[in-house]
Symmetry: C2
Amino acid sequence: MKAEIIAVGTELLLGQIANTNARFVSEQLALAGVGVYFHTVVGDNRGRLLSVLQTARQRSDLVILCGGLGPTEDDLTRETVAEFLGRPLELHPEALRAVEGYFSGLGRDMPENNRRQAMVIQGGNMIPNPRGTAPGQYVEAEGRRYVLLPGPPTELEPMVRESVIPLVQTWMGGNETIRSRVLRLYGIGESHLAERIADLLAAQDNPTLAPLAAEGEVTLRLTARAASEKEAWERIAPLEAELRRRLGRYIYGVDGETLEVAVGRVLQARGMTVATAESCTGGLLGEMITNVPGSSRYFVGGVISYSNDVKKAVLGVSGEILERLGAVSEPVAIQMAQGVAEHLGADWGIGITGIAGPDGGTETKPVGLVYIAVHHRNADSWVKEFRFRGDRRQVRIRAAKAALFALWRKLGAMDEGLSPAER
Amino acid sequence: MKAEIIAVGTELLLGQIANTNARFVSEQLALAGVGVYFHTVVGDNRGRLLSVLQTARQRSDLVILCGGLGPTEDDLTRETVAEFLGRPLELHPEALRAVEGYFSGLGRDMPENNRRQAMVIQGGNMIPNPRGTAPGQYVEAEGRRYVLLPGPPTELEPMVRESVIPLVQTWMGGNETIRSRVLRLYGIGESHLAERIADLLAAQDNPTLAPLAAEGEVTLRLTARAASEKEAWERIAPLEAELRRRLGRYIYGVDGETLEVAVGRVLQARGMTVATAESCTGGLLGEMITNVPGSSRYFVGGVISYSNDVKKAVLGVSGEILERLGAVSEPVAIQMAQGVAEHLGADWGIGITGIAGPDGGTETKPVGLVYIAVHHRNADSWVKEFRFRGDRRQVRIRAAKAALFALWRKLGAMDEGLSPAER
């Protein structure tokens, strides 16, 4: 099945926003084993959208349109696809109930304009949108499938996960079911990983096994085809177990789970808390941790100790050590981690000090040099020197991720699910 | 001039990265007054890139290709465009010097592979790349212009700003010069803004005047055409002055300047420092401030006071007030701002407390309710209640931006350049 994605919206062509919907849909289709061959962006313009649909029809089996399903005149995706296919739009009772239900949930009457959003192309089906007013829809014509989704990512993303991907799997497989599991790794490079599993990569068939590197992390995608969902998972299980046996120390999560979610899950399960002391990351680590809803259960707070005075006054870092070894040094990272855990009353403390650049680097302490410490109130502190590559933004992101992974390791989370002999 | 952007790279179709290059180039072209009508993404595949170029030739005057100029076999943009135009690639001496110079700057010899990067399509010209090995190039054929740029944003963005936009302005204007100024506003909605300048919007001609709203901010773009750069700026000046007279209280910066850069510039000019106390934003404000290189000159640090214990112990917030009014309240925001300025030794303190959601909201304190306080050590504290819409991420971003804008206002920066009568 050859897929392409068409995003409709003049705001994309003006550069006001990036086409993150195409990225998300592509990623999800790739995980489901569907190849995406083109992305197109076109403005809110009937003629140009028609020309883009003509091109898509000639080269793709599956066309996913994002955006242009709103209630105003500008939003013309629904009408233009109907015109393109030569089919009328029909009021879809279930879609109307969904749109009306959305407004009644807000305690309001549905404006007349929004009635348009309940129109479905003849022969098509509705795709529920639990987060907004615009239901999606899909329709088959001349052996091609067209899927229409609303533009706001908060609405589109759950619709893709919950409805579109299962549909696509039905369309692809005939009677086959396809299931994927993604293992997420940190702290191991892609080429090193490939060496460790060279035999598994060479022998792969069903399930398939695909590594992917991005932003300092590596993921491994296991995809199985089978007659039933149960059988697909049964095919995946032994390969997953073997990968965990070889790489368990690096696997922090599965599927869409980020490092900050994985760390939060373990902390919460153990009833433990953490506090952060950040210098070069300037609050990024706290921001990542608290981006997770419910993080107040395990994150007590942090100190952004950008100046040495704050390191001394708030965290209790020794002035003598700051003077003698400089702020970017192992002992300072340790004292930051200890200080923040003690002063803020947390089980765990994380300390990060380094040089994010572009200025401030020297021969002995270059840009990218970062010390990360993890402290537990009843144990010795752990500290490590890192040399990150990249620009200021990249150094900061890598430092924050490395700190999260260090805590995850210290939590001993990688040993869960392993027998004592395997640890 | 009709433009389109073609991004080449399989990593985009796999969803590993979003097409941020298309966003950036579109934004820059829009600022220069060029309309972008299509974005396309295609993989590292000769046949499909040829088909995309065929389509582009039929509908666009200017085709900007991003990516695929690297040294490996995968990188085939240069070769494929040459084939498409039926012209040979020629070794470009200046480009070769540039590529060799890049490696000698790193103290290394140029690998033989990189010689490919010095090949320019016959009749074309090189575009310098100060940040990487791959020079860009542009070529005219059959009345259309093709611009080839490398994929890494850190290389592409300066090349677009410094070389492509000036070239495009020459191509568009003939003898005309086009110059744009962007005024950046915060704290005023797009429709309210449009009312305040309705007469100027109606009368616009040269310069043109275009409002644009995004992420809680509004920008106003002034674009003048003239025989010389000097004359273009002279045309812009009186309109800019009139806009500043009417809207000066909302204008925090020009062109690419963000709120955090504008605030940092003013703090640094006055020799003042700031510290942050964040609850619901969890470090995001500190992260934004410290994302600016050199921010250590005016940012001393911050406290992420996620728990009430930290608010009390580290910031000195009154336990009685926390008990009686709750953490999300005006007095707590004020005490956070005061406490962080005092304890961290800064001239200014910012306090943010609120409910980012999705959980934690109540009837009287709903999700999106945020209190922001700004404190100066010699003055009364300022505090304001906000009710932000959107999801957790949006509420947090809007709160951090509102806090930056509040500080910018309290700094009195909007009065700069105004006569006392205008203040």
